[in-house]
């Protein structure tokens, strides 16, 4: 029932705001919907902590602690974004952005597009986490792409259409690879299960007999899945759509792409990873993952060092974090899995903050290019600018912020393994990435007063920022016990112990 | 009690002999240059005259200007109690060995240089700049030489050094000792501001070093500084003679020992003076920027001395 409610709420919210006629109503609907959703997600997490796992419709929907975690994070991000979005789009409307771009279109229609598509988008993501059936999960992930294409082309600029096209095309190809992988998995299970019913693709069923699956097929399947869901997660070299999409989409959407969709894609990957390790042992998967992980972190480096737009900078940061999580998966072991999920959690809480700051700055400067900005934002933006710097440090893994803890855990797992060079290389790359970020953002935030008019007036934008920032700071010193419990259980799922 | 008497004795000896040495050197130099030159007692007369006169304090100077003469004089006097002169055990050897000697002299120099700057005249600045530079360059050479000695005696305590030297009188013929002696002699020349490094007799601005710093001094202050300078010179010479050729150092403070010790001591001083005069008269003053080369030579000698202790 809970599961159903979780899925139903966003759908309803979407439909309602599609029907709604004025902005305030839509805002209200979204806020209410996502607040309710977050509460339900928390309830689900609690229930999963108690009962171990929840399922309905004889296992069509099922939530173990891993899915519960992903649902919780998705709901959290969605909530944060919906709060921020209110202020963000009002600002846009004040600047007459919509009229400028979409010819003849009124602001309200653009807003309706956002407020009705976002819930669908969220719905799809939740379905990813809750679908027990790998096929359905694929369908859901494909749905996230479809729901978000128009959110990316939201502003209707030439560039945003370009971004949307690349997103759709690359995403489409990637997902068809994922589908191929799914088919092969089904096939390799087929001989074992001898069933043609839905259960043949139910993860909970598959994971039990993964050991007898056909090895070669499973190899191919995992390769295809890795490439497929890797594309969705933006793992190099399938990452190319990310900077474009992130820099063109409206900030709340970009934040959701970076913080929530990434989780869903990795979630899909994890499910198959577990099957693969059960079938082939950890060796095969981890050698692939190490390559792709290091590649992703490495590919981010030059673009972080030499970058002209801070929106794109953020995109590369999330490519780099995707890589880190992939590496964590590769390092394996209980510690690696735990590190990965900690990183997943902390990342999807910290990243939106960074995006919101970037959004405020962009709306303030009317550009996202470094060379157009004169620096010294701290004078005109006494709230956003310092938090921007703080979020940058947080996201580059500087203590006391929480991402350092997860990265440290991951590195410990890495040094626990047989190969020492990947973690060492990872450390070096991370240092360089930090340098790039610090140089760019410090130049933006600090400096003499360029004499811009004061910003940071809009309470929605301001307080969503402050609230999220305080969450980030608190996480650095205190991770709530139940949440850690949930993460630990989820890590056992990843580690294949549950 | 057994410290105070020797201390007084040695201090007074130093105070009395030091101007004499200056006088002797001047006179000898004159003779070498076939001039008659002043009498060897001239320095005493100078001091007497200066002490009697009143003095003029530049209005640009601060209290440092007045403090410096005391510091210079006192450091020199104190150092003179730390090195064996006529007897192997110096009265205050416990208060500081050769390192203390070097650093106390450095303290005096530090204040002198400050005083040079204090008056605000360009000569003062010029003098202190050059003085500090040259002494800085001289430092490593001096240290290497001293280390050679200290290592041979494995102690930095000068009395110990002297004792061990007395123990084996002919050690100064060892190559390491010879080299070290050479190094220290060059340093002595540089530190006491003698030709070819500096010319104590000149007030020709371009070549002045030590004199330039004290241009503004007059009367008793000047006397203190001059006396301090000659004390320092004597101290360094004593260091040289007593650590390398410790002949006649009396083992303890008894009258007979002191007498013979003093005799030997004066003899050795005379020889050193001759050496210095020889150098001064046979060389011309160097350009300032040639001096480092000379001191580099000294450093090399010292380093060789070290390595030779390793070889032989």
């Amino acid at each position: 029932m809970l599961l159903f409610a979780i899925l139903a709420i966003p759908l309803a919210a979407g439909a309602m705001s599609f029907a709604a006629r004025n902005r305030r109503v839509m805002e209200a609907i979204n806020l209410a919907g996502f607040t309710a959703l977050f509460l339900l997600a928390a309830a689900l997490a609690a229930q999963v902590l108690r009962a171990g796992s929840v399922s309905m419709w004889n296992g069509f929907l099922a939530a173990d602690s891993l899915s519960a975690l992903v649902v919780l994070l998705t709901a959290f991000v969605a909530l944060a974004c919906s709060v921020y979005a209110v202020g963000y789009f009002r600002e846009d409307e004040r600047n007459h952005v919509f009229e400028a771009n979409v010819r003849g279109a009124a602001a309200i229609s653009s807003l309706r597009k956002y407020y009705s598509l976002t819930p669908l988008f969220v719905f799809a993501m939740l379905l990813v986490a809750l679908a027990n059936n790998l096929g359905v999960m694929w369908v859901a992930i494909e749905a996230t792409t479809l729901a978000s294409v128009f959110l990316i082309s939201f502003y209707g600029r030439a560039t945003s259409i370009e971004a949307a096209w690349k997103y759709a095309m690359i995403g489409g190809v990637g997902l068809s690879m994922a589908l191929f992988g799914t088919i092969l998995t089904y096939y390799s299970a087929h001989h074992v299960l001898e069933t043609e019913t839905l259960a043949g693709l139910n993860w909970s069923v598959l994971v039990l007999n993964a050991a007898q699956f056909d090895k070669t097929t499973m190899k191919l399947a995992f390769i295809l899945i890795l490439l497929g869901y890797g594309t969705k997660a933006g793992i190099a070299p399938m990452h190319t759509w990310k900077p474009d999409a992130y820099s063109e989409a409206p900030v709340p959407v970009a934040a959701m792409l970076a913080a929530a969709v990434l989780n869903c894609a990795l979630y899909g990957l994890i499910r198959f990873y577990v099957l693969t390790t059960r079938c082939l042992g950890p060796q095969f998967a981890s050698q692939l993952l190490i390559i792709f992980g290091l590649l992703s972190v490495g590919v981010a480096v030059p673009f972080v060092l030499v970058q002209k737009s801070f929106r794109r900078l953020l995109a590369y940061s999330s490519i780099d974090h995707g890589g880190i999580m992939i590496l964590a998966l590769a390092f394996g072991g209980a510690l690696g899995a735990l590190g990965m999920l900690l990183h997943l959690t902390f990342h999807s809480i910290t990243k939106p903050l960074l995006f919101f700051c970037a959004g405020n700055v962009e709306q303030h400067l009317k550009t996202d290019l470094f060379r157009r900005a004169k620096g010294g934002l701290i004078h005109s933006m006494p709230v956003s600018a310092p938090i921007f710097l703080m979020a940058t440090l947080a996201v580059t893994g500087i203590p006391p912020f929480s991402l350092f803890q997860s990265e440290f855990t991951i590195l410990r797992a890495g040094f626990g393994g047989t190969l020492l060079w990947p973690p060492i290389l990872l450390i070096i790359l991370l240092v360089v990435i930090f340098i790039g970020f610090l140089v760019h953002i410090a130049k933006l935030v600090l400096g003499a007063d360029p004499g811009l008019p004061p910003a940071d007036s809009c309470p929605w934008k301001k307080y969503s920022l402050i609230g999220l920032a305080s969450v980030v700071v608190i996480l650095g010193f205190w991770l709530p016990g139940p949440l850690f419990e949930l993460i630990r259980n989820a890590a056992q799922v990843v580690g294949g112990e549950r | 009690m057994n410290v105070i008497l020797p201390a007084l004795a040695q201090l007074s000896l130093f105070l009395i002999i030091s101007p004499l040495v200056t006088g002797v050197i001047r006179t000898m130099k004159a003779r070498f240059q076939t001039r008659r030159g002043p009498s060897i007692w001239q320095p005493y007369l100078d001091l007497h005259k200066l002490l009697r006169k009143g003095m003029i304090i530049p209005d640009t100077a601060s209290w440092l200007f007045s403090a410096t003469p005391y510091v210079v004089f006192l450091t020199a006097a104190m150092v003179s109690l730390m090195i064996p002169m006529v007897a192997t055990d110096a009265p205050l050897s416990l208060f500081g060995g050769v390192l203390a000697v070097v650093y106390l002299l450095a303290l005096g120099r530090f204040f002198l240089a400050l005083a040079g700057l204090d008056t605000g005249t360009s000569f003062g600045g010029l003098g202190s700049s050059r003085e500090m530079t040259i002494s800085a360059i001289a430092e490593p050479a001096m240290m290497v030489a001293i280390f050679t000695v200290a290592i041979a005696a494995n102690s930095t305590n000068l009395s110990e050094v002297a004792k061990s030297a007395v123990g084996q009188s002919w050690r100064f013929l060892a190559p390491s000792q010879m080299l070290a002696f050479g190094a220290l002699f060059i340093v002595l020349i540089a530190e006491t501001g003698r030709i070819p490094v500096d010319n104590p007799a000149t007030h020709l601005e371009l070549t002045m070093i030590h004199e330039a710093m004290i241009l503004e001094y007059s009367g008793p202050y000047l006397a203190l500084i001059e006396w301090g300078a000659s004390l320092k010179q004597l101290v360094l010479m004593t260091l040289l003679v007593n650590t390398f050729v410790p002949f006649g150092l009396s083992p303890g403070w008894n009258v007979s020992g002191i007498a013979t010790g003093l005799g030997f001591y004066l003899l050795k001083l005379l020889i050193i003076c001759c050496l210095i005069v020889l150098v001064e008269t046979t060389n011309a003053k160097m350009r300032l920027f040639r001096v480092p080369e000379l001191l580099a030579v000294a450093f090399i000698l010292g380093a060789l001395a070290l390595i030779s202790t390793f070889l032989f």
């Binding site: 190899k219 070299p237 673009f303 855990t409 | 209005d59 500081g96 060995g97 204090d118 290592i151 009367g219």
Partner: protein
């Protein structure tokens, strides 16, 4: 005993924390924020002083473990002798700086930023304490980075100047690179010992051998070396320390760079097992090079604070000479000598902390009074700011290693250790010790030269600018802060012998010997080099002799000087009337001889432009400027940075905007992996 130390320790931490929060909250009213920030810091510092003093002489280590609300993190503090010693240094300085800051920050009252400053000041004190007392690698790293973060924010406090921002970024970048090394090092140790606890590292140190030992040694040397500012990892230091507000510069130069020294002491002597001989040699060499180059570059500076910053590099070098010698002695099996060398290094750490802090505070007062750091614009301050001048002079004498102040004592111990080192081996390596000693002597002499310049040009003679002319003596609290440190300089100098027992705990823990008994002779009057025969010195005695001997000039007065009286007259200056500031020797001129002597190092470039109407011999205006090369920036880091950026720019071609290319990447990857997947 430990409980007592604990109360004071956590009381101090709490006070720091409250100071941070309080000054952040009350940021709106500058005055309140300033008073609260400095007040809490002062209180905390006092508490910490007591606790570390108690812990220094405690029978057993005080050890507390507080579970943190974060996975794998335990706030585990261990107040063993070494930690307590460094914490003592920290809190000592913190007391002085906090008092000083009351007055120094007053001009900021109108601005709201003072609250931010107070926050980060207290935060850095907090993190520094944590760094010195953490006994768990994870916690240590967090404290380490928080400290760097706070330091960054403090350095960039006056971020309106471009140079300040760059300095801050440079600092943070270098520091983070260093942290990377530490991270690798600690994780290597962790994978060897299976735990992140320091005690387990120490326990398994014997297992650390061969390549691993070498790797760990080099990683930590680099990682901590960056923070300590050893050459060639020093480039951030002369930029960052002057950029910060002066009280912060004092903190940075006084104690923040000492965290590197602490780390080295911890790792080299506790976790590294028996180091190879080359390790000690490297440390010794690094020390000598840092000391010499540090002072040589200091000599060329005319910016008072930059000059002081370079001297920090020099003194770190002197400290490392002691450490290096100590390491070599351990390898050669002479624990007593090792202990002496270590004591020399640690004692110099304290001494440098004190007098460098004093000097920076003095520079701060000068800046406060004249609003310039350029020595060429200063002068004559000894009349306008007499107390400041006196305190600065004390600091200058101390840092020049002149008796009877504290700098002399630690340098003397270093010499003794080096001399004794000659006897420890028959190999040619033994020549290293005296050579190092002589270079140390050169360093010390050059340092004296440099401070003759620094003090003489800044404080003596005539003011060279209007700012200097109408300078004002600074307020009571600032003078108190400086006076306190000056007093400590004197006390540590004269009372060195009675301070030595402090090191017993440390040397016993690291080398298993207690040295204070052997280092002190003649009823506590005399400091020896381990044996009374080896060499002795008595700063107290020297001071006493000064007093006694001053009877001598008095005597002369009685004999001669009564008739003579003193007149104050215009300066004679070889008869040239009307001495003006233009006649004065400048800082630039003062260092000219050395610039020419070491031209090979400095590569001085000069250009002279003379404008004249009649003939070149009657110029109407002359423009002269000269600069020296900074080799590490120009030869090493600059090209490196250019190279990296060039490569990065070239690699950006990956993302050229063509969707076909993007699809092709995926396609190729797919084919390759498929073939890789089906290979038999």
């Amino acid at each position: 005993m430990n409980a007592l130390a604990g109360y004071f320790f956590f009381g101090g931490l709490l006070s720091y924390a409250m100071g941070a929060i309080a000054s952040l909250i009350t940021g709106r009213s500058g005055r309140l924020a300033r008073v609260l920030g400095c007040g809490f810091a002062l209180a905390g510092a006092l508490l910490e002083t007591v606790s570390s003093w108690v812990a220094l002489f405690a029978a057993s280590d005080a050890h507390w473990e507080i579970p943190a609300g974060v996975p794998f993190l335990i706030y585990s503090f261990r107040l063993d002798a070494l930690s307590a010693y460094f914490n003592l240094i920290l809190s000592l300085l913190a007391v002085a700086i906090s008092i000083y800051s009351f007055g120094y920050l007053r001009p900021l009252d109108e601005k709201r930023t003072v609250g931010v400053l107070g926050f980060f000041y207290n935060l850095s004190l907090l993190s520094l304490t944590a760094v010195f007392t953490a006994s768990n690698a994870f916690f240590f790293l967090i404290a380490w980075e928080v400290m760097a973060l706070a330091a960054y924010c403090l350095i960039t406090f006056e971020h309106r100047q471009e140079t300040t921002r760059q300095a801050g970024v440079l600092f943070f970048v270098m520091s983070h690179a260093g942290t990377g090394c530490l991270l690798i090092g600690f994780l290597l140790l962790n994978s060897l010992s299976g735990s992140l606890d320091f005690s387990s590292f120490a326990a398994t140190s014997s297992k650390l051998t061969g390549a691993w030992q070498a790797a760990v040694f080099l990683l930590f040397l680099a990682g901590f070396g960056v923070k300590a500012g050893v050459i060639p990892l020093h480039i951030w230091l002369p930029e960052a320390h002057p950029a910060a507000p002066s009280n912060i510069s004092a903190l940075m130069s006084g104690i923040v760079i000492k965290t590197g020294i602490y780390g080295l002491a911890r790792v080299l002597f506790e976790f590294l097992g028996v180091p190879p001989l080359w390790a000690g040699t490297i440390v010794l060499a690094v020390g000598v090079v840092s000391a010499l180059l540090g002072v040589l570059y200091a000599l060329m500076e005319h910016d008072l604070k930059r000059l002081l910053a370079y001297h920090s590099i020099e003194n770190i070098g002197i400290i490392l000479i002691g450490f290096g010698a100590s390491l070599m002695f351990i390898t050669l099996g002479h624990p007593r000598l090792a202990a002496i060398a270590l004591i020399a290094g640690l004692f110099h750490t304290l001494n440098h902390a004190v007098f460098k802090c004093l000097l920076f505070l003095g520079a701060g007062s000068v800046l406060h009074g004249t609003h310039t750091r350029n020595m060429e614009k200063l002068g004559g301050l000894i009349r306008r700011m007499p107390q400041t001048a006196f305190f600065f002079l004390v600091g200058a004498i101390a840092i020049s290693g002149l008796p009877p102040l504290n700098g002399f004592v630690s340098e003397w111990l270093t010499y003794q250790a080096l001399l004794a080192g000659f006897g420890t081996t028959e190999k040619l390596t033994r020549v290293l010790f005296p050579v190092a000693g002589s270079l140390l002597a050169l360093t010390a002499a050059l340092a004296a030269t440099c401070f003759v310049k620094a003090f003489g040009i800044t404080f003596l003679a005539l003011p060279r600018s209007k700012e200097a002319d109408d300078a004002q003596e600074c307020g009571f609290s600032m003078l108190t802060g400086m006076g306190l440190l000056a007093a400590v300089c004197v006390a540590l100098g004269l009372g060195a012998t009675s301070f030595l027992p402090v090191f017993d705990g440390i040397t016993e823990h690291l080398m298993g010997v207690r040295m204070s008994g052997e280092l002190v002779a003649a009823g506590g009057w005399v400091l020896t080099s381990g044996s009374a025969r080896g060499g002795t010195v008595s700063t107290a005695g020297i001071a006493a002799m000064f007093v006694i001997l001053s009877a001598l000039p008095a005597l002369l007065w009685l004999l001669w000087g009564r008739k003579g009286h003193r007149h104050i007259e215009p300066t004679w200056d070889c008869g040239l009337p009307g001495l003006t500031a233009e006649n004065e020797y400048t800082a630039f001129a003062f260092s000219k001889p050395l610039r020419m002597i070491f031209a090979a190092l400095y590569q001085p470039r000069r250009e002279i432009q003379a404008e004249y109407e009649v003939s070149p011999y009657y110029p109407t205006a002359i423009r002269f400027d000269s600069e020296i090369e900074s080799p590490f920036e120009e030869r090493l880091y600059g090209p490196l940075q250019k190279k990296i950026l060039a490569i990065a720019t070239r690699m950006r071609g990956i993302q050229a905007g063509s969707i076909h290319a993007y699809l092709a990447y995926i396609f190729v990857t797919l084919i390759v992996l498929l073939l890789f997947g089906v290979r038999p």
